[in-house]
Symmetry: C2
Subunit: 223 residues, 2 copies
Amino acid sequence: MKVPVVKEILKANDSVAVENRETFDRARVLVLDVMASPGAGKTSMLLTTLDRLDEGVRPGVIEGDVASSIDADMIAARDVPVVQINTGGNCHLDAPMVRSALPHMDLDNLDVLFIEDVGNLICPSNYKLGHHYSVVVSSVTEGHDKAHKYPGIFAGADVVMINKWDLADVFEYDLDFFTQGVRMVNRDVPILPLSSKTGEGFDPWMEWLHTAVGSIAPVQTTG
Amino acid sequence: MKVPVVKEILKANDSVAVENRETFDRARVLVLDVMASPGAGKTSMLLTTLDRLDEGVRPGVIEGDVASSIDADMIAARDVPVVQINTGGNCHLDAPMVRSALPHMDLDNLDVLFIEDVGNLICPSNYKLGHHYSVVVSSVTEGHDKAHKYPGIFAGADVVMINKWDLADVFEYDLDFFTQGVRMVNRDVPILPLSSKTGEGFDPWMEWLHTAVGSIAPVQTTG
């Protein structure tokens, strides 16, 4: 009895996701949905990424949280355009929520939009937002069994990060075991150990990101 | 349109939760729902708790996971009765899932049953399982903003733990800020910093637990 209802909700969501995608493509903005457990370090990763963007790449951020604007405040402190969505208890962002944020974003003056989803390794993976790529941030301190335990979100990932990599030795993190878990559901996704604190491991991620931005929104070299 | 459907699901869930509670009370088993983010250390906390239970207190565990039996295997290695529930994508346990596990548990020979919910700081708080108390495990490595960001689960907690306390200095954990977040939604809940790794801080938790067990299931002193 429950399944058809959920399917209807997903179908309605998907049609708004298609509209969102058309809006993003028209504005030539690369859009990434960043998903992770609570406290995996999505915001820290974004802050370090913002600091390392090539000159001329214009970023924006949509922050999704059940409550509070703690993360959005940190982004705003960098003078990056940011919109906060508080889901009021909902466990994930959905396409209509993202759509409602878009009038507050000057998309024509952005090249890349990061959507930080609600901290949750399960629900967000079921909702298309209109984004081009899904980035899943796992972290060393959560343990190396996350892909085995939450396969769904890793199955749909276009990039998998292992954040807090500076603590890998302290936590005796088993990269092989984690990789095995990811590969059970996703054969090709890049798995990038990195540290938002030290910047270690960010080069391959920034290269991936700049390539993706370039393919959708050629960077302006206005003089 | 979505809300009435959700309400119906919750109503159906609640009536099974009432049955579960009657079953637990008849068997005089204290039942705790243990909720946390992925990787906060629910299982490690349970393992340390099992090691410190007073002699004569007979524990059992229900393990809830989206997939895998990694945690249940660790519990079973201690010769503690354990049942694994794989939700197959669902983001929380519900009362019917717990009910389906009960025939596999010899409740008359248990004093305390720990239900380890799916790793998720949002969804599990909406579902009654028939348990007596809710234990929310936060952790130092997730950061001290979790109660501000996920107020719902802390509002319903009967015990709040801050696990991985041995790392509090390394992570510059701000206990006052976390406590402030919890107190915004829950005036009286005990907040217990502890480390499942070192055992630090377990005494107040074990005292709380043994008092609760004693109030529901007087410990057998069979000779």
